[in-house]
Structures are given as structure tokens and as C-alpha cells.
Amino acid sequence: MERIITRFVTALRERGVRVSPGESLDAVQALAIGGLSGRSSVKALLRLTLVKNVNDIPAFEEVFDWFFSSNQSNPGDLDPAEFLSAMIHIVEGEQLKADEHRTREKDDPLQIIDEDLTAEDLENLLGLEESDDDAAGAEIMVQLDGYRGKMNAPEPADYYMQSPPTVAFHQGVNKSRVVPFTPEELADMQEVVSRMLVRIRKDVQRMKEMENRGKLHVIKTIQKNYRHGMVPFLLSLRRKRKEKPRLVVLCDVSYSVSHATRFMLLLLHTLQNRLMHVRSFIFNKELAEITPMLRNMPVNCLLETIDKGDIINLDDNSDYGAVFASFKERHLENMRGKPAIIIIGDGRNNYNEANDWALEEIREKAGYMLWLTPEERDIWQRGDCLLDLYGSYCDRVETARDVDELSRLVEDLFHTLFDHNDSRAWKRDRHEPRVEEPAKELNYYNRPKAVDSPNCTQFSPSSKEWRDRYGTPYHKRR
């Protein structure tokens, strides 16, 4: 029975459900206790012990139905040869898959870790002693051949691990522009986000602590305790007033950066009003605010809405210049405080007007400006990319190719935000090398002094400059 469970667990893992060896042991134990009295009870037993997340339940149901299909018989005595071939198939499958990964993208060793684990776990589990109930499982069938389905198993993280050209190519060939999240992707990203949130939360707590500290405000304390005869019952501290940082995000939803945008949208969805005030916009040719939608809609619906082109027309090419101008015109005045602005996009302007003056004005209003691009630095100059120009107005321009990088960058940003929440601090820390303008020398008539030239000299022969240049040096004098 352990073998069946082991293989079932492997199938689950292929489907993206994370099952630890300990949990499969639990499952075996549970089956030993609960017995194999009926299909639904076995299903319940397995589900209780193996699945530890709501989002994984549909995947489990699917795998269960397909793995234990009811038209085969006699599972108790599995043919060893058959079993071996299945094993080999599994291992081969892993190998094949790993090879596939290697050829597809050479720069990513992370992909293979999971597969390596599986074979090892398998062996560990096979080492268990046989249980008595082995022969009793009349209703549990194993469909060995159906197992090949795993080659087509969805690989949630793949889109984000690949470089943009690969993604673009893949999506261009067989997917629509902004594909709504599959449950696996959602789970995957939810995890990244939630782990990030845990780390960020510490910063928030620290900020709150900072808020509650402060020196004694003597005058206010005395005023407050006037009615107590100046005995300081109530203290008044000089608190550092801190407010939630404000964030404005501009996402390019055009085709070339859609995968980064998707992650960002999810991130925003989670962050919305939890840690900070976020206002989010999407654009390609026109600009639209999606803050209320983020608040009210599930992320999948929102993506579908965007995908259908209900908010902005997706067939347009992105026009950064027009977007910045309209942002400046319509929204900049309404921004409270000094928000940090994140722009996600590749800066490919399709040869439209650059309008960098608008970006400059936005920059003046913003406390901090970060540009995230999926492209590598060395192709920024090529084609219609204006990133060099736009980048000169930003505090930072960063390349974010996959989920990990993106989440790290955003986390970085939060650190900065919470550390110097005070917007003046960002300015102070920006280390702008102050360009010392040479003081213009004025002549007697308040005009700039003319430049001296060999033919025309303004200096009088009695001046030091004239003497230095034309005069006879002292040692040559007679």
C-alpha cells in the first residue's frame, strides 16, 4: 500500500501540491486506521492528511479521480516488473523534464531542485515495512499508463523564470496576451508575496515602535496636568509623526512586459491598504486608474477585465510620453504628500513624443521614483527604447526579470520607505553631487567679463593678467 501512496504523492507533487514525506507517512497510518472501506472515505482520509491548503484541494480531487479510476482490478498484488517499469518511467520522466529545462534555459539551476528531491523521497518511503492491510485494498486501483500525463503538468513558475524574449515568444505562439492566473500560479505567487509580507511586517512594527517613543514634551505635559496640580499623571511626548507611506504604481500592460505586470498586480492586490496607501494605474497608450477595482475585485476577474480591453484598449502601442503628460495633467495635482512612484515598463515608446518634461514634473512631486524594466541594460539603447532618457529622472532604474527579482526589489523599496518614511530623508540621502557653478565674474559695468583673446584684449597693460601673458618676465628684464 505504501507504494501506491508513494506514487500518488508523487503524482500530487507533479501537479504542484507540496507533500512532505512526513505527510505521506501520516496518510499510510491513517489508511491503516481508517481502513479501505469505501472510495469516498479513502478520499477523505487522503485529503485530510496530504492536502494542507485550500487552493490545493481541486488539484487533489483531479489527481485522485484520475489516479484511482474504478475500472481496473486487483491492486494488492502488483506485478513487480510493471512496478519497476513505472519506477523507471518516473525517473526517466524526471530526467527528461530536467533535460528539457536545461535546454530551454541554461541560466537557471533552481528549476531542477524539486525533481531531485522526488526520487530520493520515493526511495525513503519504499524502505518502509509492509503493512498488513496490503491485500485489503480492493477498491484502490492504479492506472499506470495514465501516469504519462505528468509530462504535461503545468509548471507554474516557468513563465517568471524565463527571460522576456522566451516568454514573449511562448505567449505569442499559443497564449493570449494577459492570461488570467492559473490556480497554481496564484498559489505560487501568493506564497512569494506572503513570505515577503512577513518580512515587511517587521519593518512596520519597528515603525510603530518608533512612533511610540519620544522625549518628554515638558510644556505640553505641564499644560495637560494643570488640573492635577502639576503632578504629571498624563505624559505628553514629542512623538515623531509618521504616516503610512504612499505609493503610486504605473504599470505598462502592453504585451512586452505583461508578465511582470501580472505579478505586480497581484502584489498590489495584497498590499492594497494593508501596509500603505497604494494608487495603481495601468497604461499603454492611455492611462487608467485601477485602485478601486483592486480593492473590490478578485485578482483573476481584474485580469480578465484588463484582458478583454474593458479598461484600456490593449491593441494600442504603448506611448509613454502621452501617458506621462496625461498623468501629470489629471492626477499629479491630486496626489497627497510625496508618494513614491514605481513605473513598470520597458520604456519602448514606439517613436512617439518623449515628453520627458512631464516626467521631470512628476519627479519633482514624487518623494522617490523607481523604474523597473524587464530588459537588460545593454539593449536599452537599441530601437525605440527611451530608458536612458527617462532613467535620468529616476532615483533608481532596475532590471527585474522574474518573480524573485521583482519581489526582492519591491521589498528593498519598502525598506527604504519605512526606514526614511519622512520624505525629506529620501531627498537627503539621494547623494546628488552638487555641481558648483563657477561664480560669474563681472566687470565694472556689471557685465560678464569678456573672454580674452590674442587679438583683442580687454585687460589694461597694467593689470596682472596682461603682464602674465604679454609682459616680459622678471628674469628677462634688463
Binding site: 486506521i33 472515505s41 477523505a44 485530510l48 492528511t49 494542507k52 491548503n53 506564497e191
Partner: protein, 300 residues
């Protein structure tokens, strides 16, 4: 030994209609002595399950309500500093005579440290819920409610307690449970519980019940309500849940509504009845309108 079917019957006798998964979970938890982590939307009977279990199985219930900032002093144990101080004060004369035999300071300190365990004994230990349930004279039911409200630190604290059923007190050593309690953790899913904790538990997701089960729940709680009305009611609520409300009505709302209808002696659902009692089902301004509109649409 108890079986799944018996668990189901037991729960039914306590007024809790369980489906197969719930019954299996309880059965497994009893047999494997593993905690159950129950997740689900609010009001589907997560805490209710624990309460019913404690009455039907006759396990005394020890409840720990989690909140932000809960720590071991509130959940596991605490030292009773006041009592310790009081005892040292009261015992001062005894201590003086006891220590007067020793000639120098060093000997006195040694003597005193030999009796140190006196002051760090179970006598001065305040048992908080988890330890109390571990040390209770008979098997108890430990309900850790709304664990998603607590922090990560607290979750980490629970790991030892829930996997080995023991509490480590640095001054006393490890205190193992005398009877392993039936531990039930509930969560509303507002925060992801860490995988480490999930791994130690049986995971039970209780969603909104199926039609028949919900009708059965209403019928058991309010037998005076006629069959037709309860079916109509449940049908309507199922449609309401599909509406994408801000707070969809849950089983507890169903029961509230059933109570209201039985008090009003309603025989049949009409838009007017729904409009009058909508406050029981919908809990948001924006939801009220949607629900009444649906009622007109359905019963027109």
C-alpha cells in the same frame, strides 16, 4: 473502538450535522492523536464543531482565543511572581534561622541554592490554557481559536506543543501531557498559516455545506420550521452566496434567519418577507440592495 459512523452519529446527537470529511477528520484525530486545523469562511461551524465534540465526547473544553501579540505567558504558562515574593517575605524568619547555621557567605549561598527548586516548582506555575489541557486529569479538548490572528512567533511556539504534546519550562524541564488532548485549531484564512504548523495537523476545510446538509442543519435546529420553507430558504441563500457580496451569508446567518422566520411564523418566502428580514442575512449596506433585488427576481 469508535468508528467513523459512530462519530457521525455522536455529532448528530449533539446537534451537529457532519459530512463524511468532517466525521473522518474527527475520527482520525481521535485515533492518531493529531491536531486538526480547520479552515473556512466565518460562520460555517468551525468553533461549533469543537463545542459539540466537547459535549458529546465529554472532554472538558479548554479554549484559547488567539489575538495579535499573544505569547507564551498567555498561552502556555507563567510564573506567579507575586506569590513567589509573598512566600519569600513570609518565610523570612525560617530562612534566617535556616541560614544562620552556615558560617560564611559562600556556605549560605550554597545552602540556599540547594533549595532553589522550592521557588520554581509547579506550586508557583500558573497554568495557561495549553498547559492546563495537558495536565487535566482526563482527556480534554484544546480549542485554539482563530490562530490566524496571532503572529508567527506564536505559531512557532505551538509547534512543540502540538507535535509532541509537551511543554518545555526552562526551570523545570519538559512537562509532557498526561492525556493527549484532542486539539482543534481554527483559522479564517486571513493570514497564511506556516507550512510547519500545517504539516503537524490534519487539514480540514469546511466550506459552505451542500444543499441537503444545510437543510438538515436547519431542520435539526428548528424542527418547527416546515420542510418546504427551509428548502426554499436554503435555496435562496445559496443563490445569495453566488452574488459576490462583501460578506456572504454563512451557516450561522442561515440559522439566524431560520430563527427569525420561525418567530414570525412565516409560511412562505416572499420578497416582502425577505425585505423585512434582510438585515439578518446581509451585513453591509451595499449587500442589502443586491439581496432584496435577488428576492424580487427569484420570487417575483
Amino acid at each position: 473502538m469508535i468508528t467513523e459512523q459512530q462519530v457521525k452519529e455522536l455529532l448528530r446527537s449533539g446537534g451537529y450535522i457532519a459530512d463524511e470529511t468532517i466525521a473522518t477528520a474527527v475520527f482520525l484525530a481521535l485515533r492518531m492523536e493529531k491536531p486538526i486545523l480547520i479552515e473556512g469562511p466565518p460562520g460555517v461551524g468551525k468553533t461549533g464543531l469543537a463545542k459539540t465534540l466537547s459535549t458529546v465526547l465529554d472532554f472538558p473544553m479548554v479554549r484559547l482565543q488567539c489575538y495579535e501579540g499573544i505569547d507564551e505567558g498567555k498561552a502556555l504558562y507563567d510564573w506567579e511572581y507575586g506569590k513567589q515574593l509573598l512566600y519569600t517575605q513570609l518565610l523570612r524568619t525560617q530562612l534566617d534561622s535556616y541560614l544562620s547555621e552556615s558560617t560564611d557567605l559562600r556556605a549560605a549561598v550554597e545552602r540556599l541554592s540547594a533549595e532553589e527548586s522550592l521557588f520554581f516548582s509547579q506550586n508557583f506555575l500558573v497554568q495557561r490554557p495549553i498547559l492546563r489541557s495537558f495536565l487535566s486529569p482526563k482527556r480534554s479538548l484544546l480549542l485554539i481559536d482563530e490562530i490566524d490572528r496571532s503572529g508567527d512567533e506564536f505559531e512557532a511556539l505551538l509547534l512543540e506543543c502540538l507535535s509532541d504534546f509537551q511543554v518545555s519550562v526552562p526551570e523545570l524541564g519538559v512537562i509532557a501531557a498526561q492525556h493527549k488532548p484532542l486539539a482543534i485549531l481554527t483559522s479564517n484564512g486571513t493570514r497564511m498559516i506556516s507550512d510547519a504548523l500545517r504539516r503537524r495537523c490534519l487539514y480540514l476545510y469546511i466550506g459552505y455545506p451542500e444543499f441537503d446538509r444545510e437543510v438538515a442543519i436547519v431542520r435539526t435546529k428548528f424542527p418547527e420550521l416546515c420542510e418546504g420553507l427551509s428548502r426554499q430558504m436554503v435555496e435562496f441563500l445559496r443563490r445569495v452566496r453566488e452574488l459576490n457580496l462583501r460578506k456572504p451569508p454563512s451557516v450561522s446567518e442561515t440559522l439566524d434567519w431560520a430563527q427569525v422566520l420561525s418567530i414570525l411564523h412565516t409560511k412562505q418566502l416572499t420578497p416582502a418577507v425577505v425585505a423585512n428580514t434582510v438585515g439578518v442575512i446581509a451585513k453591509h449596506q451595499a449587500d442589502l440592495k443586491q439581496v432584496t433585488e435577488l428576492a424580487v427576481q427569484m420570487m417575483g
